[in-house]
């Protein structure tokens, strides 16, 4: 009995089902089209809840857009056409992954710029370190003075 419950527990832990909001009555009979609809749904933002994809959201609007995506797919649209259709109505914000275009160059390039700035700063720092290490040797005068000081210390 205990072993049975352990097995049950293990099963529930190892097989967590993704918490999709896609309802059975929305799904398409054709598994290929349905899989494409899921791929598209993961990329579209639910505009009501903002930080969820339409596939993850229970909002009414998300449901409507899921149905619309499936209608377009059945009508023969490519994935890109479906996404372009939604984007032409809701704007770039509907895409969970921002597109690479002039107004997002800073967004996409930002981490690279920070890395370059860091490398530049590190390079400068290291170069200065080596420069300090290569101090000129002591002059004859300084050598004599140093010897004198050391002798002073040794004597008492």
């Amino acid at each position: 009995m205990r072993r049975f419950f352990l097995a049950l527990l293990l099963l529930t832990v190892l097989a967590p089902l993704p918490a999709h909001a896609v309802r059975p009555d929305e799904m398409l009979a054709d598994p290929v089209l349905e899989a494409r609809a899921r791929d598209i749904g993961q990329e579209l933002r639910c505009l009501v809840c903002r930080n969820q994809s339409i596939d993850d959201s229970d909002a009414d609007l998300a449901h409507d857009i899921r149905v619309l995506v499936r209608q377009r797919l059945v009508a023969g649209d490519t994935d890109a056409q479906v996404i372009a259709y939604i984007r032409s109505r809701y704007g770039d914000f509907v895409l969970l992954k921002p597109p690479f275009q002039p107004d997002t160059w800073l967004l996409w390039g930002g981490p690279g710029l920070v890395l370059l700035a860091g490398l530049w700063a590190a390079g400068r720092y290291l170069r200065r370190q080596t420069r300090t290490a290569a101090t000129p040797p002591l002059s004859a005068d300084e050598e004599r003075r140093l010897a004198q000081l050391l002798d002073d210390k040794a004597e008492p």
């Binding site: 609007l61 984007r87 109505r89 809701y90 704007g91 914000f93």
Partner: protein, 175 residues
């Protein structure tokens, strides 16, 4: 070290403060619409029960008009109703309504209670809302005489929005 380096933190602070000042004063609920200056989407909506005219793209041509997406279940729509009715009473432009995802008897009751400012109303099950990029009622569009969307307001209309944005724009677009 070089003096100007001491000014760097100050410069960074000023830049960030400016960024936050602009960013925090923007309403995060308002999303830019790609439909501004584009032709209004094609649609043809049936009338509410008991009325003879619905609403279609053809109605929007030939003059500036206001298109208001609303619903009887929508609380902010109730809030904007007074300002919208006052605007409709000016009779500057027709006020068209799109009743969004609503029950026919519920909306009839709602309009009966609050008054009906709309010239024509179309009943939408949600499809036309998506065509117009609506993500939450109420949303209001100003359409010019050629049928192009010129302005969009998300959220309840207020007297200030009507006076400062909509009326001047109507004056600019001509009737």
């Amino acid at each position: 070290m070089r003096r100007w380096l001491y000014l760097l933190p100050v410069a960074v602070f000023v830049l960030m403060a400016a960024g936050f000042y602009v960013g925090l004063n923007r309403d995060p609920d308002v999303l830019p619409s790609p439909l501004i200056d584009e032709p209004a989407p094609q649609f043809d909506l049936p009338p509410l029960p008991g009325k003879d005219k619905g609403l279609s793209t053809a109605d929007l041509k030939g003059g500036v008009s206001l298109v208001n997406f609303f619903a009887s279940w929508c609380v902010p729509c109730r809030e904007e109703h007074k300002a919208l009715s006052a605007f409709a009473a000016l009779k500057r432009v027709p006020v068209y309504g799109v009743d969004y995802k609503d029950k026919p008897n519920a909306v009839a009751e709602w309009l009966g209670e609050l008054g009906d400012p709309y010239t024509q109303i179309g009943a939408d099950d949600g499809q036309v809302g998506i065509e117009w990029g609506v993500y939450g009622v109420p949303e209001t569009f100003l359409v010019d005489a050629t049928g192009r969307i010129r302005y969009k307001h998300v959220g309840p209309l207020t007297q200030a929005v009507i006076d400062k944005q909509i009326l001047p724009l109507i004056a600019r677009l001509g009737r």
